[in-house]
């Protein structure tokens, strides 16, 4: 390890644990969305809140608390606007800004005007995320909130979660694909990536470190003063204090899943054949329900690429996991030497689907979401639902250092895009809103390539997922949290 690696080693004491852990053993969780009622009391609560760090403990803790703020929340806390303006434009502008909703596909039935939370006076100032081992959650929340909670905060909504044992509501194993983090910054970011790797630069997930471009992402750099004294210096500007360092942006979306519509559509398309049903479900998702990829793996369930499946006959181009992570590298076909030079200047492979996509290493996110609603098995989902059908879905959470290049790009260019990978007239089979776009009246298709024949084309795929809420948060470091507590009280009231 070189000297540069030592100087950038991450202080896990300063990180909220969610960046490093999914808290899988804490099977219970609640996300409390809150607005600040009394800034002074809110700061006092935050100042003494037992926020869990990323330090590995033995035995591991049985409960955890994480806190994250929206831009409105930082303002309500009393943080100067000039400081907030240093955060990225997406965070400051918020998820529901007009043009952004168009890019994210949050229009029509997904429109913020239909949301349960995330807009207007239902935009949370902060979210307190409580995690606990079975049986401990209620007590943990009560004791953590303490006596001053109700004076400090107004609870907007409590998002409860359900432990479905690693399976998402449609019934597929979830959370298998996660990027590895280059914690010790050992990878050479300057070198081109000729083969796909699952490990991404620390700066893609944590502010204040070098990202895949070997550069730094937007975050506030402050002048040294009494308030900022506790913050770490910026790596790229040592005279400045880095408010973002060891923090990151957190995207939260409430995605309601219509499990019955999903399995009933697949069942109709499969003519009631159980085996066909499983196969078609796997084709839409890109994995079997057990989580096995549809292309041969090189080792564990997540070690594969789509290279040996050029025609998409094993895993359709439009399958959810293909859209979410095309597993490509910087160039098609691993060119080296002269071949790479030729590829760079435009004389690489020229087949229809060659080189269509941006290299995935610039578009990874860490997923930390949890499911909600009672389990519904596929066979039960074929029955009509009761009148008081409980809602099911995913509290989608992802962490990334650059919301526009990571989450928003993924959502826009790969998930909702009706033109992904040379396709036309279809968006993500799970997330797509099936709304027509100008010149393309139908976007409710799904194409399943067939080796040596005509592709099978489904049409009339219903909308299975509806967005019910969402916001962009900043998940601060412990030092930044202390800064907020301090700077809020010294700022103009």
């Amino acid at each position: 390890m070189g000297s540069s690696a030592v100087s950038s080693a991450v202080d896990y004491n300063d990180l909220q644990g969610l960046v490093r852990f999914g808290y899988k053993s804490m099977k219970e969780a609640s996300y409390v969305l809150i607005r600040i009622r009394d800034a002074e009391k809110a700061r006092a609560w935050l100042g003494s809140a037992p926020v869990t760090t990323a330090v590995e403990m033995n035995p591991p803790p049985s409960t955890a608390l994480q806190v994250a703020f929206t831009a409105a929340g930082l303002e309500a806390l009393g943080i100067p606007r000039s400081v907030i303006a240093g955060f990225s434009a997406e965070f400051v502008g918020g998820m529901t800004e007009d043009s952004r909703t168009r890019r994210l596909g949050d229009v029509n039935s997904n429109s913020p005007s239909e949301w349960a939370w995330g807009t207007g006076n239902r935009l949370p100032h902060l979210v307190a995320m409580f995690f606990a081992e079975p049986g401990l959650l209620h007590g943990f929340i009560q004791s953590t909130k303490g006596a001053s909670w109700d004076q400090a905060f107004e609870e907007l909504r409590t998002l409860t979660t359900e432990n479905l044992d690693g399976v998402e509501p449609f019934g597929f194993a979830d959370g298998i694909s996660q990027p590895g983090i280059d914690w010790n910054e050992q990878r050479d970011h300057k070198a081109a990536q000729v083969t796909y790797t699952n490990v991404a630069a620390l700066g893609e997930f944590l502010l204040g470190y070098r990202n895949e471009y070997n550069k730094y992402t937007d975050r506030p750099l402050l002048d040294a003063d009494a308030d900022s004294a506790g913050l770490l210096p910026a790596q790229d500007a040592p005279e400045k204090k880095d408010l973002g360092r060891n923090g990151t942006y957190m995207v939260m979306r409430d995605l309601r899943q219509d499990v019955r519509a999903f399995w009933q559509f697949i069942d109709r398309q499969s003519g009631g054949n159980v085996e066909e049903r499983e196969k078609l479900g796997a084709a839409l998702v890109g994995r079997t329900r057990a989580g096995d990829p549809l292309v041969p793996v090189l080792g564990p369930k997540n070690e594969f690429t789509f290279e040996r499946d050029q025609g998409g006959a094993r895993c359709p181009f439009g399958a959810h996991v293909h859209r979410a992570n095309p597993r490509n590298a910087d160039y098609p076909l691993h060119p080296t030497g002269l071949a790479r030079l030729l590829t760079i200047i435009g004389f690489g492979p020229r087949e229809f689907r060659d080189d269509l996509m941006s290299p995935v290493r610039f578009h990874r996110v860490l997923r930390r979401g949890r499911e909600y609603g009672p389990e519904l098995l596929p066979t039960d989902a074929l029955e009509p639902g009761p009148d008081d059908e409980p809602s099911r879905g995913l509290h989608f959470i992802c962490l990334n250092a650059n919301i526009s290049r990571q989450f928003e790009f993924l959502q826009n260019a790969w998930m909702m895009n009706t033109k992904f990978s040379g396709l036309s007239g279809e968006s993500d089979p799970l997330l797509g809103d099936r709304e027509s776009v100008p010149g393309c009246p139908a976007t409710d298709g799904f194409t399943i390539p067939v080796d040596g024949g005509l592709p099978r084309r489904l049409s009339g795929v219903p909308q299975f997922v509806t967005v019910r809420g969402g916001a962009y948060f900043f998940l601060p470091s412990i030092r930044a949290l202390h800064y907020f507590v301090k700077a809020g009280s010294s700022g103009p009231q």
């Binding site: 007009d98 043009s99 952004r100 435009g346 036309s424 776009v437 040596g452 024949g453 005509l454």
Partner: protein, 433 residues
Amino acid sequence: MNPQSSFMVLAPIIPERESALRDLLATMNVAPGRVNADNTLIPFSRCETLHFARFVILDDNTLEDVAAYGLAKQTYPLYLAFLGDVDGEGDHFLEEIGRLAENGLREIFSCCEGVSPDTDLIQWMKSYRAPAVASYVNWQGRTVGRVREEAALRNLLGDYLQDHATELTGRTPREIQATLKRFVNNETASGRIRLTAEDSTPLDWRLRDLLHLVGVPLLFILASPLIIVAAPLFVTRLRNQERTDPELCERVDDQWSDQLASLEDHDVTNQFTAMGSLKPGFVRLCTTILVLSLVDYAARHVFTRGRLARIRTIHFARWVFLDGRRRMVFFSNYDGTVESYMDDFINKTGFGLNAVFTNGIGYPRTSWLVLGGCEDERKYKDFLRRHTLPTQVWYKAYPGLTAIDLERNGRIRKGLESSSMSDKDLREWAALL
């Protein structure tokens, strides 16, 4: 082949008419960023050879950047640019639209200098044309008519395949091709669909193209003794400047970027207009001209089939000098969001992007013209956003179709008309259906 070309009318706006002009241009849209293709001023939809068009007021926000070189801010006229990409010659198109929309054009250009009620408008537009230093066409010879015919073909085949899915399942690609050929022949015979054969290439265009193909390298060879002598000094000066040139990449204010964003993402394709001042001095001017000549040459003779180096999302693009080559404007029509467009450039042709734009004041620092620069993603994106202009009116002849769609539709048609495809080619062709 009927080759594409571009036109651009560039005229100074009479200062007191600027706000009237803005109001007038706004009437051509149903909403900001969404043109009414049948608007009464210029009914674009009736122009059968027009791919893309736009009206943009070249209101440069970065005129003060020259101060970084100790130069005083210049006062330039505020221009209105009317530009587009057409099949055939630009002058022919101006004649056609001059007849088709004379009143509308007259109303718009009456806000510009030099137009009075008795001006011959077509002549006036021709005399105010501003040529491109470099321009790019995604697919030479693909006319608007062909785009539409091939899109209609694809839709027709899509419906047919949907209706006959069961009987076609399990058939070989060769059998499928034969079946579809019969079907399309019937449809063509009954006039339900038209597939026009490719036009012959105009002789004068071919001659000019050949002259350009040979002439530019020849000029270069002729000039090479001079270039070899001047090169060491030139390179030293350039390298020196690269190390000291100021970077002007501060973040744009949110209101500005919101305004730009409000005009974007209404179609699968977007417009892009950016302008700025060139770095002062002879060395930079020479570099700009050299690099853009190279880009133009490559776009004209090498990258003529769907790819600008590795980039497959640009329909048309061009660079134009303004005001005695002191300023430059870049126009393009690309698929996807501006964010993915910028990522595409950085990740796929950073070298070319650097070589061109590093000659603009404030660009993130490059070394050896092609390295560095846009690799500083944050600075590059802020630089570009700073220089982006809102486009007042933007028209695209085929909404909903990306450049990749056009390529696929072309491949489908080609395969349908071919009688000599290998089994492998036929399999790939069938997969596109």
